[in-house]
């Protein structure tokens, strides 16, 4: 049970922190349509986070709900990929993040749709449709920026280089409890890599960009090791809730 709770929390944290970053764009996007689109994507991610964290709390059985997990855990207990917590940077960096995260989530949720855990499979089935749209949105923008102006091409290429070091972590199986893999509850993320790589490299090539050849760096989000950006994100996100412990909103 603790294993399952931890696994589900990891996926929930990916969605939550990604939503938090995307939400920073609202009222600051390059055009109104994009305020709406990024808002939609943030809402989908937040919705996934709520389902996953609620379920994680149920599985854990210690009476914690989604808000307890989101607002009253400390940084070292958050298990999201470092990629999602990186600061937004410019629009190209945000799109590069979205391309990687949504491509990853799509493969992952697709496979998890046939998880032997019914709740997880139901959440994943719903989420698959959502992230397919996210990936499509990121793809369209990668093409526009990559194959747009000379300047946008350069920005998008730089953006890919910025996020690339955080890629490796996505496909690391070592944090997934063996029991969950054996029972068919969890998915070995290493197996998602070929499909992910094929999709992403095709998009990058079509966008006249090149897949960066930068080395990955030691990450460790799944073990609660984060970047220095994470603490500030959490301070902002949690301050109000923590200022009124036990209050209802």
């Amino acid at each position: 049970r603790a294993d399952l709770a931890r696994y589900v929390t990891s996926l929930g944290d990916d969605a939550l922190i990604h939503a938090q970053r995307l939400a920073e764009w609202i009222a600051s996007a390059p055009e109104l349509e994009e305020d709406v689109a990024l808002g939609n994507i943030a809402l989908d991610q937040l919705g996934q986070a709520r389902l996953l964290l609620s379920y994680a709390g149920d599985v854990e059985g210690a009476g914690r709900n989604e808000d307890d997990l989101a607002f009253f855990r400390d940084e070292r207990k958050f298990l999201n990929l470092q990629l999602v917590e990186l600061t937004n940077g410019d629009f190209a960096v945000t799109i590069a993040k979205l391309l990687l995260v949504s491509s990853y989530q799509l493969e992952l949720y697709r496979r998890l749709s046939s998880s032997t855990d019914e709740m997880l499979s139901a959440i994943a089935a719903k989420a698959t449709k959502e992230v397919a749209y996210h990936r499509d949105h990121a793809t369209q923008w990668t093409l526009r920026l990559g194959d747009g102006t000379e300047f946008s091409h350069q920005q998008m290429q730089t953006a890919l280089e910025r996020v690339w070091p955080y890629l490796e972590e996505m496909f690391d199986d070592s944090w997934i409890p063996a029991t969950l893999l054996e029972s068919g509850v969890a998915v070995p993320v290493s197996e998602l890599r070929p499909a992910f790589t094929q999709y992403v490299t095709t998009v990058i090539r079509q966008a006249t960009l090149t897949s960066p050849e930068v080395p990955s760096i030691p990450t460790g989000g799944r073990r609660g090791i984060h970047t220095e950006a994470m603490g500030f994100l959490l301070a902002e996100m949690q301050h109000l809730a923590r200022s009124h412990p036990g209050a209802t909103w």
Partner: protein, 310 residues
């Protein structure tokens, strides 16, 4: 003259003027200004609420607030769309906003200082907006009227959510109760100002009424809002910051409004005028290269498909 008669007949019959119809230049100009101002208000109005999305105290509230601010972007899009049917480009209107030549609702020049402000904006600001806007659903210009139908539906949803935020605070801790009262204290008077100057100082109202753009006077709408809101304040257990407020002859009579404050904020000297426009302008400027890329890409695609077709 024939066209003018046809126009007057449609107005008299309370029918809708459509984009293809002839209309007087003044009517067109008034509508463009009003719709644009309304669109700008939606866009600028995103900022005070977006300010709290990353800090919302529960995930449910975060989702609701995010959806609300996103709806406002959508309202902006409908409204700029409605303005475009009158022959003016969105980019042109945004430029008028960014350079301060067109205004937006002054209410958004006040800062959002606590979470309770998210409730107060929903309850009071959206509440006032709805009272202002419901009659616009019957506005004589078709595209505007239809946009307003859709907007009003969403606004009343937002208003209920705002009230619910406050209601939850009113049933909460002492600190939450203080937060609630404080927010109401700060937002009450600015909300009343949203209906514009008193009737005897509202020069353009008569023509707008004759054209079927405006249906009720500022003071009438303001009174309607106050009458609607006072009983709700009682449900929340908050005091409205007006010692002269009293029930009289079927209406809640309110004390004098500080029109000097209204005038100052309108002239750019509100707490956040500069901040709001700078934020807007920065988003626009930072996004310029992205919009250019999208255009360049679209042009390339068109060229490619033409080559493909040839």
């Amino acid at each position: 003259a024939e066209q003018q008669r046809r126009f007057d007949e449609l107005i008299a019959a309370d029918e809708r003027i459509e984009p293809r119809d002839w209309m007087p230049a003044g009517y067109r100009k008034t509508l463009i200004r009003q719709i644009a101002q309304h669109a700008h208000s939606e866009i600028i109005g995103m900022q005070p609420e977006a300010n709290w999305i990353t800090r919302a105290p529960s995930l449910k509230r975060k989702a609701i607030l995010l959806a609300k601010v996103q709806d406002e972007a959508g309202h902006g899009l409908y409204l700029y769309g409605a303005a475009e049917t009158l022959g003016v480009e969105r980019a042109e209107l945004m430029d008028l906003l960014h350079t301060g030549r067109q205004k937006y609702s002054s209410i958004f020049n006040y800062p959002t200082l606590t979470w309770a402000d998210m409730g107060a904006i929903g309850w009071l600001v959206d509440g006032a907006a709805i009272v202002n806007q419901v009659p616009l659903c019957r506005c004589s210009y078709g595209p505007y009227a239809r946009a307003m139908v859709r907007i009003c539906k969403e606004e009343s949803f937002h208003q209920r959510q705002g009230f619910e935020i406050l209601y939850t605070l009113s049933r909460g801790t002492e600190a939450q109760g203080e937060m609630l009262q404080d927010a109401v204290n700060r937002w009450w008077w600015p909300s009343l100002m949203m209906f514009g100057p008193p009737d005897d100082e509202s020069p353009n109202s008569a023509q707008s009424m004759a054209w079927g753009i405006k249906r009720h006077s500022n003071d009438d709408l303001r009174q309607r809002f106050v009458d609607m809101t006072v009983p709700q304040a009682e449900v929340l257990g908050v005091t409205l910051p007006d010692p002269e407020l009293k029930y009289d002859d079927g209406h809640w009579r309110y004390g004098p409004i500080d029109w000097a404050e209204f005038a100052a904020v309108l002239k750019g000297r509100g707490p956040c005028n500069r901040q709001r426009i700078e934020h807007r302008r920065k988003a626009h400027e930072d996004g310029a290269w992205v919009r250019e890329a999208a255009t360049a890409y679209a042009d390339k695609q068109t060229a490619r498909s033409q080559r493909g077709a040839a």
